[in-house]
Amino acid sequence: MTDPALAAVHSSQGDVSELVSLATKVAGAARSGEQLEVYVYRGAEIDVRAYDGEVESLSSAASAGVGIRVISSGRQGFAYAGSLDDHVVAETLAEARDNVAFATEDPLVALAEPDGVPAADIDVWDESVLTTPTTRKVDLALELERLTRGADSRIRQVSSADYGDVAAEAAIATSAGIVASSRRTICSVSTEAIAGEGPESQSGYGFDATRGPDSLDLERAAADATRRAVRMLGATKAKSGRCVVVLDPRVTSTLLAIVSSALSGEAVIKGRSMFAGRVGEAVADVAVTLVDDPTDIRSFGASAYDAEGLACRRNVLVDAGVLQGFVYDSTSARRAGTSSTASAVRGGYATTPGAGCRALLLSPGTLGEAEILAAVGEALYVQSVTGVHSGVNPVSGDFSVGAEGLMVRNGEWAEPVREVTIASTLQRMLQSVLHIGLDVEWLPGVAAGQTLAIDAMSLSGS
C-alpha cells in the first residue's frame, strides 16, 4: 500500500547502519593531530491537528543533519548543516576546521575516550510508527477531539487535538574510536479543552505519550484535559499567605528538571550551580533520593549511549537528602578532575554536547495522591504553573511561578484558585519536602513526576 503522506520519508528509515557508515567514513578523515567527532541524524515526523470534526492540518516531514566537532591542540571548532549530502558534509567539515583557530587553547578540551562500559540493551523503537497508515493517525486525532468535546456538557471548545510521532535515528563516530548509534520512536496525543459557564472560560490540557500509536490512551488524555478545565470553573484569586503546596506530577517533573540544571557538572565547574562545593552535605530532606538512569526503559529519555557515544549508566545524585555528585560529559569531567558519567546531551545536530540529566527519578514514597491530601489537611494543590523560564533562577535558587489549582481543605479538594504565584527558593523547597507520592508518571522531558507536598511556600494573591 502506498501512503503519499510518507512520500518524503527516507526509504531506509529504521536501518541505522547507513548512518553509522557515513559517520565512520567522515570521522576516518581526521588529520594527524586532529580529533574529529561526527554526529549524524535523520528522522521522520507526522503531526495531525483536528478541529471541529475535521483535519485542521497534517504535516509530514523527513529531516536529516550533521554536526561536526574538530579539536586540534585544545581548540574546538564546530559546524552543522541540515543535510547529509556528500558535498554538504564535506563543506561542514571544512567549516568546522576553519573555526578551530578562533577558540582559546584549553588542553582539557578533548573528545570522549572509550571507557569500556558496555552499553545496555535499550529498545525504544516501535516499527509501527512507520508502518501505521497516515489515515489511522488522522483518525486518532479526530477521535481524540470527539472524546474531549463529548466528555462534559460544559466543554465549549477543543482548541487543539493533536496526534504526533517521530522516528529518530542518530549515529556518532569519532577519531578516538567511538562508534555508537541509537534509534527511538515516540508518539503522543495532546488536547486542550475549554470549559465555560456564563462569561467565564477555563482551559485544561491532557496528553499521553508512548513508543507506538497502538498503545496511546486517548480516553485518558481527553478525560485529563476535561477534568482540569472543568474543575477550574469559578476559580478566584486566593489570599496571600504561607501554605503547604501539593504539586501535580507534571509540575513535579518541571521542578525536577530545574533542579537537574544545577546538578550539571558543567554548571558546577563554571560556578553556576547552587550545589557547587556541597557534595556530602544534606541538600534536601532525608526522603529525597534522586537518580538519573537512562538505562531505565520506562523513561522517555532512555538511551543506550550519551551524546559523545559513551554507554549511559545509572548515576545517584542525591541519596537520602545527601548530595552525592553531579552528571558530567567528558570535558566538564576533565575540568572537575573526574571522569565522565556518560551524561553528555545535545539538542540535535546543530549544537555541541553539554552535561545534563536524561532520566531523573525522585524515589517514590508510600502514599498516593488522596493520602497525601489527607495527610496535609490544608494546602494549595497546584495543577499547572506558568513563567518557569521567567521566574525561576537555578543559579540563585529564587523560585516564583504563576499557579492555578484547588485549595485543599480537611484533606479534600475545595474551591479552585487562579492568578496567584507560589514562591520560595529551590534550596528551601528541597529541605521542606513533606510527602513524595508513589504515583510516578513517566513523562516526556528529563524527569518523571509524582505528587509532591512541600511545606511553607509563599502564596501571593490578593
Binding site: P4, A5, S57, A61, T104, G391
Partner: protein, 474 residues
C-alpha cells in the same frame, strides 16, 4: 547596496520550477498551494569561563509546501530544493485532499518587489571571524572589571542571514533577505547571600554595522551591574502593589497581557478573552498599542512575513479601544478579509501561524521621574525577563530580572527575581500613568513549539495594582 552584487542573491528556486510544483500540489483538488523556500546561514561564537569555547557555523536550507483544501491544511517539507525534491514534498502535502476530483490548476506566478525596511550595510559574511571573536574578549574583560564579586561571565555573538522565497497559487512570488545580529552578555556575582545573575541583550535586524551603535563594553557593564546590585537584594514583596515598569523591556507586559490574546488563531477558536471585543474599551485610555513589522532595524522587522505578505503597521488598541486582531493568511481567508502581515514561522520545517512582530505602546506625556515620585510605595521594575499567558483566561505572568522597592516616591532597595501575575484586561485598565520616554527591546517569542524574533516596547508606565510573587513576610 551589497545585495545587488551578492552572488547568493540568485533565486532559491527558479520561477518555472515554482509554477510546476504549485501545479502538482493542486493535483488532488487543493484550492490553494504555497512554496516556502529558505536558505539560512549563521555563525555563533561563545565565550565562557574566560575562554572562547567555540565558534559554530550553521547552514540549513529547504522548502515547505502547503496545500489548503476546505478547512484542511497539508504540509510537507524537504531539504532537497531540486525539482524532484519539491515535487515529492508537493505530493506528500497534497495527500490531505483525499478525494481529489478537481483538475490540476495551471499556475502562473509573477515576481514582485517589496520595500526593505532594514537595508544592510555590512553583511556578516563579509566580516572576518576574528573581528567577531574580538568582541567577546572585550566584553568579558569589561564585565569582570566591574567588580571583584563578578565570578563568571558568558558572552555570545550571533549573526544569521535568512534568504526566503514565497510563492503561491494566487500568483504571488516574493523574496526576502533577512540579516540579524545579536550580542548577549550574562554574568554571575557571588556574595554573602549566595549567587545572583544579570544579563543584557542587544539584537537588531541589521548586519555587522550593529556595533557602530551597540557598545559591547556598555552591554557588558549593564549585565555585570545587574548581577552585582542583586547581591544586596531583599526578597520581593508578596501581594498586590503598584508597579512602575521602566521603558523598554516592560513591553513584555503587552506581549502577554493582550498581544497573544489578539492573535486571530486564538480568536477564531474562541480561546481568548478578547473574542467579540473589537470596538470595546479593553484598556485604559492611555493605551495605544501597535504591532509594526516595518520599524527599521528592530528585531521583529522584515520586508515580508513568512507567507509573502508585506510587513505592515497595525493599530491594535487605540486610546483604550480594541481596533483589530492580528491575522495570517488562513485565519483572514476564513473571515473574508486580508492578512495583516502576521503569518510567521520558525523555519521551512514549520507551518506558519499568527505571530507578533514588534509590539509596542505609544508614548504618553508624563515625566518618568514624576511617575515614580507620585508612587508612595510599590515596585520599580528596571528590566523584565520573559512571560507567559493563558489566552483563554487572560491570566499572565512576567518575571523581573532587575527590580527595586519604591518607598515614599523614591526607588530604594534592590529586590530578588520574582514573577508578577495579573489578568490581561484587568491590568490594561489599571495602567494609570504613561511617560514619553519610549524604548524598544528584543525578545524571542515561543508559541506552539516555534520560536521567532520579536520586538517589545513601551515608555515608562505604572500599573495601579498587580500581584507581585515574592516571599517577603516569611
Amino acid at each position: 547596496m551589497g545585495q545587488v552584487t551578492d552572488p547568493s542573491s540568485a533565486a532559491l528556486v527558479e520561477p518555472p520550477v515554482v509554477e510546476r510544483v504549485l501545479a502538482a500540489a493542486t493535483a488532488r483538488g487543493a484550492e490553494f498551494a504555497e512554496v516556502f523556500a529558505e536558505d539560512r546561514r549563521g555563525i555563533s561564537a561563545f565565550l565562557d569561563d574566560g575562554k572562547v569555547e567555540e565558534l559554530s557555523s550553521g547552514r540549513d536550507r529547504g522548502a515547505g509546501v502547503r496545500v489548503v483544501v476546505g478547512e484542511t491544511t497539508g504540509y510537507a517539507h524537504t531539504a532537497d530544493l531540486s525539482e524532484a525534491g519539491l515535487l515529492a514534498a508537493a505530493e506528500a502535502a497534497a495527500a490531505v485532499a483525499r478525494e481529489g476530483g478537481a483538475p490540476q490548476k495551471v499556475v502562473s506566478v509573477q515576481a514582485r518587489s517589496v520595500p526593505r525596511h532594514s537595508p544592510v550595510e555590512v553583511y556578516p559574511e563579509d566580516v572576518a571571524k576574528a573581528r567577531k571573536i574580538e568582541l567577546l574578549g572585550r566584553a568579558d574583560e569589561t564585565a569582570r572589571a566591574e567588580g571583584g564579586a563578578i565570578s563568571q561571565v558568558s558572552v555570545n555573538y550571533a549573526d544569521s542571514r535568512r534568504r526566503l522565497l514565497v510563492a503561491n497559487t494566487d500568483g504571488v512570488l516574493v523574496s526576502d533577505d533577512q540579516v540579524r545580529s545579536r550580542f548577549f552578555v550574562s554574568c554571575v556575582a557571588v556574595g554573602d547571600t549566595g549567587m545572583q545573575t544579570g544579563y543584557q541583550s542587544e539584537a537588531f535586524t541589521v548586519g555587522f554595522e550593529m556595533f557602530e551603535v551597540v557598545d559591547v563594553e556598555e552591554t557588558a557593564r549593564k549585565a555585570a551591574r545587574r548581577a552585582l546590585v542583586k547581591l544586596s537584594a531583599r526578597p520581593a514583596p508578596s501581594g498586590e502593589l503598584p508597579v512602575v515598569l521602566a521603558r523598554g523591556s516592560g513591553g513584555v507586559l503587552f506581549h502577554e497581557a493582550c498581544g497573544h490574546g489578539l492573535e486571530a488563531d486564538h480568536i477564531v477558536k474562541d480561546a481568548s478573552v478578547y473574542v467579540g471585543q473589537v470596538g470595546a474599551k479593553v484598556a485604559s485610555p492611555l493605551v495605544t498599542l501597535v504591532d509594526d513589522g516595518t520599524v527599521p532595524r528592530e528585531w521583529g522587522t522584515s520586508s515580508i512575513d513568512d507567507e509573502g505578505r508585506p510587513a505592515q503597521r497595525n493599530v491594535l488598541i487605540e486610546q483604550g479601544e480594541l481596533t483589530d486582531y492580528m491575522w495570517d493568511f488562513l485565519r483572514a481567508r476564513k473571515e473574508g478579509r486580508s492578512s495583516s502581515g502576521n503569518g510567521r514561522r520558525q523555519s521551512y520545517r514549520h507551518l506558519p501561524m499568527v505571530r507578533m512582530t514588534n509590539t509596542f505602546l505609544l508614548n504618553g506625556d508624563e515625566d518618568p521621574e514624576e511617575i515614580v515620585a507620585q508612587t508612595p510605595s510599590g515596585v520599580f521594575v528596571a528590566q523584565l525577563g520573559g512571560g507567559q499567558v493563558n489566552t483563554t483566561t487572560g491570566d499572565f505572568v512576567f518575571g523581573t530580572t532587575e527590580a527595586y522597592l519604591i518607598e515614599n516616591g523614591h526607588v530604594t532597595e534592590p529586590l530578588r527575581d520574582a514573577n508578577l501575575i495579573g489578568n490581561g484586561p484587568e491590568v490594561l485598565r489599571r495602567i494609570d500613568a504613561v511617560a514619553g520616554d519610549f524604548a524598544m527591546m528584543p525578545g524571542t517569542c515561543g508559541k506552539d513549539g516555534q520560536s521567532v524574533p520579536v520586538g517589545c516596547g513601551q515608555p515608562t508606565l505604572r500599573v495601579s495594582a498587580i500581584t507581585v510573587g515574592g516571599t517577603a513576610g516569611d
